[in-house]
Symmetry: C2
Subunit: 184 residues, 2 copies
DNA sequence: TAATACCTATCTATTGATAGAGATTTCGTA
DNA sequence: TACGAAATCTCTATCAATAGATAGGTATTA
């Protein structure tokens, strides 16, 4: 069975992806699983600690998924498609990427959490660049892999943000259309 | 000289673009210009009213700038460049687009403000589509104007978000490079 | 006098955080 | 195996700070 710490993490991760770090409180977290707020502080001394835990947990899972994609024996376009589909599954839950959401709240984060956020974006871009470099002959473009990686990631983060407000998936779809046209 | 209402709006707009709607309070707004929080409520009955004012103010100014671009006798690529440069000037101030920031906080907004946000994004996309349709011969791409407009806007919003965290302008630069390659 | 714009004073709710006391479980050692 | 200490987890109770919001009074100006 699932421990309370595990439940707290899962609920908080979801809630932050929906409403941001400022939208949750130790009390609401506690009430959702039927304990007291002081018990939540036992697991997460303060909000900074909670944020760190969530970023690390989210990043771990995310990069594990990226590794799974890299390891496949697929064409580049299939790998990029699988990458984009990670974001589509986030959109289906009416959420943002955790790090995209926290990026909006970056002014409320301490330096160490800002560094973790930055790392998440940089490492994701690096992963894309490496992917592109492994399939140089499947790229139909003069744009540098780095620029392609950077615009792809920020494009997907932005699409999540806007689609949720507009209430459709048109921007993610557009990004998919646009970036798939770069690969044979 | 500037009235207090004007000062409040300007300060709040800036503060929200930096830290989000939940980062400001009626008290902090009041203190910044040396009045009491109850006086702020005189101008803005509640936070929803304040948010509406800010979105309307920001949208007005933004679409005025877009109109100025449309009216120029420029090539398409110059107009797109000018459009992207609006976002660059936002990035220089270490801010987000107001509507991009509020998009992250959309769960905390009421229906009417959500509608205003959605309108901002949709209308901006429409403006880009119209621009593209006015210069069909200057587009080097098979991608539909609509998809191009949607991915450009969400790409720029995402770039603002990520660049601020990473602490450079590389994603905006990448978006610029990528999208400029679509126009002759 | 009526509208505008600000004030004092106050309320209720929520928040992050802490101290210190139980309860339960784990585990090394007699 | 039994015992006691230590670790783990939760509780009650309570702070101080911050928040949005309102009632009713005051000053200034049209």
């Amino acid at each position: 069975m699932k421990g309370n710490r595990e439940k707290l993490e899962e609920n908080a991760l979801n809630a932050v992806q929906v409403g941001g770090l400022k939208s949750i409180s130790f009390r609401t977290m506690a009430e959702e699983i039927g304990i007291k707020s002081s018990s939540v502080h036992y697991h997460f001394p303060d909000k900074s600690d909670l944020a760190r835990t969530l970023i690390e947990r989210y990043s771990e899972e995310f990069f594990r998924a990226l590794k799974d994609i890299s390891n496949k024996r697929w064409k580049l376009r299939s790998k990029i498609k699988a990458f984009i589909e990670i974001f589509e599954s986030v959109a289906e839950a009416n959420k943002l990427c955790l790090c995209g959401m926290l990026a909006a709240e970056v002014e409320q984060l301490d330096q160490s959490n800002r560094a973790l956020l930055s790392e998440y974006f940089i490492d994701t871009e690096k992963w894309i660049v490496q992917l592109l470099n492994e399939h140089p002959d499947e790229i139909i473009s003069d744009i540098s892999p780095t620029a392609l990686a950077r615009s792809l990631l920020s494009g997907l983060e932005g699409a999540l943000l806007l689609d949720r407000v507009v209430g459709d998936r048109q921007r993610l779809k557009a990004q998919k259309e646009l970036y798939m046209s770069y690969f044979s």
